[in-house]
Symmetry: C2
Subunit: 464 residues, 2 copies
């Protein structure tokens, strides 16, 4: 089901939770015609994370522009017992459905924090509601992986990291978008060839143990590969015995581009292999390490003096294995009925949200590092603060058409991330919870609105 | 990119790791024309798991039947520096590529254990290699989620569990297949409407906090929803105050199908709500619980006497949050060059694999429960053991065409899982590592072959 990704066709409006459809039916049938604003944000950071990296906006906008209900989608809904009492008016609405709202968002690659909207949707309430599930899913996943990649590439301290995790990603589509998000988070490339073609990400590949095992002799396996890829071969040397494999390659007298260590004592092996290759005069043969790596293991290897030139990171990266989700939510913050604008917030236990349309202002300290963020109301002004949310869609149309060259888009996102990272205080870039965390506060105007809404809500809960 | 899932179009052959393509190029260009057998299996169980549930075969076979290289795919590869020295012969091969191999597999819904092949592919070596990444990705994900769903539905002890996790799944495709796999693992249905349409899974939905917040008064929000869904409304009662919300619903005098608790002290609230609803004569109004649930929390709630009729489980289920991957691998076990058949295995540290084409035999004890498995060689016979792997594809064609009604396929898989679960010893169904684990051993013939290959490999490593 991924093949027709080029060009992107319509997305089925059924790619959503059923309750979005029941609520939309409710709004349409009850003629509840407000314009609503929802904000998509993260409630708290996953364990050991100090920041997140925005990613997936391109796919979110693609979804918003192309979501439709086919006649078959509508027939399916009509036949559900749930919809037996729903009037035709709603099904006519779906047949005509297009997203017509306005969207503001953080550009991909932006570093952000809990409470800060990653995306803000203002649209007729039924529309804004119908797109909730997909927006969350798309932005959640790429943000999760870009944020993990940021850690892994920080650990590699300038050495290239290649994303290798398609086989353990959550399906093929997840593999493709993990590759994209990992690139935004600083990876050098991916092994996912489809992602390479689709997004222009550099692709890398070596050889598998099966190549070695399929040949009767290991030396023959190396030679046969070098014959086909004389300049690009990275030879896998741990199938039987690393030392003997290196000796066989040297004996062949054919210099590979690199060798790969995928198991065993990678630290000790890297030291031995580097020395032996250098002795053979092969100082420029790269040592590539892979095999159950993550930011922690990379950091320990490098701190211990491992001689590794590049890393391949798989499962830990493509599933964000230590924290496979982010608590991302999509909350109603304002309802404009035409007669009145009402700010909305939630005050149930541990699930408090702030009302009103927001903007994020980022401040820079004297040493040129980011010093704090203020979450304020849209329209507030902080001369020293850089507003982060930008308009990306108006009346359902993107403000910037997707470029012909998707690699320009992701290159820009990756550069934005690298620039943001360079401006972050060092403690925030560590692999454990920073103390103190990056300072983020609400503006006094927003706190005031929050209090007003709290009082109004308390009254509603009692009376309504 | 999910919209054209119906009917399934061709899959791009680029949905793979680049090294599969470089190895395939190597095999084609070197005229290495062996027939290879690869087995897909799990090396070890994730933490706290005692068994896994096979799922995703339908999609894996769909992929094998429909994987192709488009002219654009091939142009992309030709232009990669990696392929500069690769002969045209390989690109001609890709243009004609179709999977022509034989496949054996565990039927979906089968409970299985580490070391047991979930799938066995025998094909020309380049073909078998090219499909590795996608087969792993497809089967990995659904097996992961079905195995998690098995735990969650075991905890619910007969009460319905609905999969609610699309928004935090790893992208939209992952959400759809998570819904499918969760159903195989015993869930009653899903909120993912597309999965409902595509696979015939029952869909469920209630209402979100935003519905309540969009209305000026909570009672009005309840009434307006009941007007549209008089028989199917499950009303969300925790937006402001659970007790007051219940009183408002009772005061409306309109009986909903159910009420949903999504936060706060679900145990205490469920007891109070049940009592109050019963007082009102509404004994048949269901109490539905959701909100950061998993198998542990469900078990504690029920053990504590919570009055909950059904559960909605989201993130924990759609990401298998406590263990978001399974160590699934695809290993070469046999090479048939026409002249000779050679069994292959791997003996590098901690990554030992067993050679030869295998079959799994399951034994049943006197009390009717499964007692042990033997992993033997294909062709071995154990009169008392039930062989689990069945042929599913011959020369690239499915032996059983996919039914017109996909709900029959998943219903069958779900029933198989439920029957397998009913035959498992109780300790294996617990939520912690069972002691002893389910007994799985290799047959003596397989152990003997393993030793032979070990000796041959030791010789190769030294000499080759």
């Amino acid at each position: 089901m991924l093949a027709p990704m080029l060009p992107s066709g319509p997305f089925s409006g059924l790619l959503t939770d059923l309750y979005e459809l029941t609520m939309a039916a409710g709004y349409v049938q009850n003629r509840f015609e407000a314009r609503a604003t929802f904000e998509l944000f993260v409630r708290s950071l996953p364990r050991r994370r100090n920041y997140l990296v925005a990613a997936g906006l391109e796919q979110a906008l693609d979804f918003l522009e192309n979501v439709r209900f086919s006649p078959e989608d509508i027939s399916y809904l009509r036949a559900l017992p749930f919809f037996h009492h729903v009037h035709s008016e709603f099904f006519d609405y779906l047949a005509q459905f297009q997203f017509t709202g306005d969207v503001w968002a953080l550009p991909e690659g932006t570093i952000f924090f809990p409470g800060e909207p990653l995306l803000r949707v203002t649209a007729p309430i039924a529309e804004a509601q119908l797109v909730e599930t997909s927006l969350l899913s798309i932005l959640h996943f790429q943000t999760l992986i870009a944020s993990k990649a940021a850690r892994v590439t920080s650990a590699a301290a300038g050495r290239p990291v290649v994303e290798f995790g398609s086989r353990r990603a959550h399906g093929m589509e997840a593999g493709v978008f993990a590759a994209r998000a990992a690139f935004v988070g600083g990876c050098e490339g991916t092994s996912n060839t489809f992602a390479g073609r689709r997004f222009g990400i550099p692709v890398y590949g070596t050889q598998a143990h099966s190549w070695i095992m399929a040949h009767e002799a290991e030396a023959e396996a190396f030679r046969d590969f070098l014959n086909v890829f004389p300049e690009q071969s990275t030879l896998l040397v741990d199938t039987y015995d690393v030392h003997e494999a290196i000796e066989k390659i040297i004996a062949l007298g054919r210099k590979p581009a690199g060798v790969r260590l995928d198991s065993g004592d990678v630290l000790a092996d890297s030291l031995w292999v580097r020395k032996r290759l250098d002795q053979a005069g092969w100082n420029d043969v790269q040592i590539f390490a892979s095999g159950e790596l993550d930011e922690d293991r990379i950091e320990v290897l490098l701190r211990s003096g491992a001689r590794i030139d590049a890393f391949g990171v798989g499962t830990a990266l493509s599933t964000s294995a230590d924290s496979p989700y982010v608590g991302v939510i999509y909350k109603l913050v304002e309802v404009d009925t035409g007669d009145a604008v009402r700010s909305a917030a939630k005050f149930s236990q541990e699930k408090i949200t702030y009302p009103g349309r927001k903007q994020i202002f980022r401040f820079t300290g004297e040493e040129g590092k980011f010093s704090s963020d203020v979450i304020g109301l849209d329209g507030e002004s902080f001369p020293a603060g850089n507003p982060l949310l930008v308009p990306v869609m108006r009346e359902g149309k993107r403000l910037e058409a997707p470029g012909k060259d998707p690699s320009a888009t992701i290159e820009k996102a990756r550069n934005r991330f690298l620039a943001d990272r360079a401006h972050m205080p060092a403690r925030i870039l560590g692999f454990h919870a920073a103390e103190p965390p990056f300072p983020v506060r609400y503006s006094s105007q927003l706190e005031e609105l929050h209090n007003q809404v709290r009082l109004a809500v308390a009254k509603t809960a009692r009376s309504g």
